[in-house]
């Protein structure tokens, strides 16, 4: 999974079967410093709440379709969460008890 910034929306009235009601957004993948990395991609919005300007995380490949209500659909990127914060930690911090 990778960080990405939502930069736009996409509307398609004619779509492959199973994609009815799926919202598509344009997202720009980001590197760890939150700078653009690579080309923008079209991602299905699996959280139904993402919008332009938001920092999100996306999943690629077959797993993208798993995020949607109908999982057998031709989708290769999906937004699976909206990022509230990225906390960069120093060594030993934030370790979960085992």
């Amino acid at each position: 999974m990778q960080l990405a910034r939502v930069t736009g929306t996409l509307v398609a009235s004619v779509k492959a079967d199973g994609l009815e009601g799926v919202k598509f957004l344009i997202v720009q993948p980001l590197n760890r410093e939150r700078q653009p990395q690579g080309s923008p991609v079209v991602a299905a919005d699996a959280v139904h709440m993402a919008g332009p300007g938001e920092l999100v995380y996306i999943v690629g490949a077959r797993e993208a379709a798993q995020a949607l209500p109908n999982t057998f659909v031709p989708v290769d990127h999906a937004i699976v969460g909206i990022v509230d914060a990225v906390e960069e930690l120093s060594r030993g911090e934030g370790r979960e008890s085992r």
Partner: protein
């Protein structure tokens, strides 16, 4: 599988249901010399790893779903181990203790 180092966490309130209650780790991927190679992954933690630790990362959906125990989860990258030692070509690359 990949070798990474945990450098942070990602906090998210609104997410796909499969992510609820799971810790998301920001992991730098390491090269054969144990140095960051410039790429990273957001991974679901399954072993209780913490910042600074060298970890074993699985970046393949079917195996990830198996580890998570959810056959339909849209999860691809998971941390499946904490690395104690890594030797490449006879050289000790990572020794965590």
């Amino acid at each position: 599988m990949k070798v990474g180092r945990v450098v942070g966490t990602v906090v998210s309130t609104i997410s796909s249901p499969a992510f609820e209650g799971r810790r998301l780790l920001l992991c730098d991927l390491l090269d054969a010399a144990g140095d960051p190679d410039g790429s990273y992954l957001i991974c679901v933690d399954t072993v209780g790893s913490g910042a600074g630790e060298a970890v074993l990362i699985l970046d393949e959906g079917n195996s990830a779903r198996q580890v998570i125990g959810m056959p339909t989860a849209p999860i691809r990258a998971v941390v499946v181990g904490i690395i104690d030692q890594l030797v490449v070509d006879g050289e000790l690359v990572l020794c965590e203790s």
